[in-house]
Symmetry: C2
Subunit: 333 residues, 2 copies
């Protein structure tokens, strides 16, 4: 379909269609939305010549203030560089969905594609990106991507299972789990992995030793302090993030409980700081850099060709054993 | 000067001049260099109309794998967003100076300006950026910027002084200092601040308690282990970075020395992780995010007007007291 036919169908001028395509702000919202939906319905493909081709990949965080932002940036940057592209890093400023003015910027910059971290894209934004043939992929550590969006996640359930099996193999049976917020699917997946490992080993799960909290240090510290002050305290705690695990280490230190001699601790994420805590954390490696690399590869290949179906993948997690875990009642391994 | 006059002076075609200006690679190196130097000599200013104006700020790291990269990205992103600009993050891939192919990318992208972290720019790259009127500023935590380059640093000497004064005020006199590598000026500045605080208080500096090392955890751990295993061990250690301080905490824990009851520890940088260690670190706040914000502001204002002189500034450092320091021989404060 040619643009002038499209303009006729929308009942607007050719210059208005062009303004919409270029993300200009001087178009009435209703008009924009009518043109968008016609563009989308006809599967309009922006033509890009060698001169007009952008060399940017857009990476959008709801909030740059996350401990693992750097691991994601590094991954996208690795793949962009391999492909002669540069990475634009944007903080969208809202926790779950990019701010509306973000999309106007993307339409102006016309990147090869967009990698979104941990964000739900508004239906309107999806339509706008699709109508310009700007592909997007979600890097999704939370484990609950929308079904119609290409995404790269990781195996949360399996991570919970591995962490708990490791503790069981060390002889622990009174094992606590502190997981993430109740409204994030990854919290449930990791906890379900914990329960399956316990059940398979014939061990009961004491519900007083299961807690939900935010993924930060305080969440780990407060929950651990309560559990470790109770009469029949756990000999091991599986924490839902490395930050929570740091909180558990701090609670143990302030209560005079030695890690790992008297308490084993497993974290989750394997951020750089997991190597630097004292003792160094045994933790589940979430391959954030690899997830970001895969997302960048997908977005670049989507830019080159129309996909058959929505690409989705979960990368494997693996346990990294360091110094915060030991046999129950025993000395460090 | 018009471009055709410039082409005549260089003895090349107008299209060759245009290729050089646009960072194209199909120009012989000798030709490129001749055109560059004529552009530079005549102070050629690229004309940018409202249409051709880029909306990008380029942020270049020698290596994204530094713990404080995120704090810098956040600062540049804050200021870019205020100005309706986006940030391109590039890893130049060499430790001290951006790789040669990086400059070609910048010339193609034509950013409003370039913020370089901790890099020495090759003379040739300076000429290339200047001839296109692309301003650049160095964010320089190492404290040794080239004199002809706009830069934003921080007060390293004063940081060392404040950290040491705090320990002296707590009654410590046997104080060790572990600083950074011998070939970085910030290591010397912080150590000189330490010496001045000791001298001013009439305290001798025991040279067996002064060590140089890299800024990583291992550097802190090994030096602290040696110092703390000696007969007359220090009661306080000033570490040159938060990572070194984490290493000191680990050495103390493995030797059964309680922090802060038996050993006070001060770090440097005030990275996020300083709040998460156990105990939380007393440390010198290096305003990395503010340094990046200032650098971005300078680069944007340089893009708008020619400066009178080379802008240079050092931002203040300040001590943040947390839980890793206490009065000598006493309980936590």
């Amino acid at each position: 379909m040619k643009l002038n036919e499209l303009a006729d169908e929308a009942g607007v001028s050719l210059s208005t269609v062009s303004k919409v395509l270029n993300g200009r702000s001087d178009v009435a919202a209703a008009t924009r939305s009518r043109v968008e939906s016609i563009l989308d319905r006809h599967g309009y493909q922006r033509r890009t010549g060698p001169v007009g081709r952008s060399t940017l990949v857009e990476l959008v965080f709801p909030d740059l203030d996350t401990v693992w932002a750097m691991e994601i940036i590094r991954g996208v940057e690795n793949v962009a560089r391999e492909n002669g592209l540069s990475v634009v890093v944007t903080e969208s400023g809202t926790r779950h969905s990019p701010a509306p003015d973000w999309i106007a910027g993307v339409l102006r910059r016309r990147p090869v594609g967009v990698v979104l971290v941990f964000s739900d894209l508004a239906e309107e934004s999806k339509v706008q990106l699709r109508s310009r043939a700007i592909p997007f992929v979600v890097v999704d550590p939370a484990g609950d991507p929308a079904p119609d969006v290409p995404s790269v996640g990781s195996a949360n359930w399996s991570g919970g299972l591995q962490a708990t099996r490791h503790l069981i193999e060390l002889g622990h049976s009174r094992i606590a789990a502190i997981t993430g917020p109740d409204d994030m699917m990854c919290s449930h997946a990791r906890l379900d992995g914990f329960r399956s490992a316990m059940n398979t080993a014939g061990l009961p799960v004491d519900e007083s030793l299961v807690a939900y909290g935010d993924f930060h240090v305080d969440g780990g510290r407060e929950n651990a302090r309560a559990m470790l002050s109770a009469p029949d305290r756990p000999t091991a705690i599986f924490a839902g993030s490395d930050l929570q695990a740091l909180g558990v280490l701090d609670a143990a230190r302030s209560l005079g409980i030695a890690v790992p001699a008297e308490l084993s601790v497993v974290g989750y994420d394997d951020l750089q700081l997991a190597q630097w805590s004292s003792p160094a954390l045994t933790t589940v490696h979430q391959p954030l850099t690899r997830m970001a690399e895969e997302a960048a590869r997908i977005v670049i290949s989507l830019a080159a060709a129309e996909p058959e179906s929505t690409p989705r993948m979960d990368l494997a997690t693996r346990l990294v054993v360091r110094d915060s875990t030991a046999p129950v009642g025993g000395a460090p391994v």
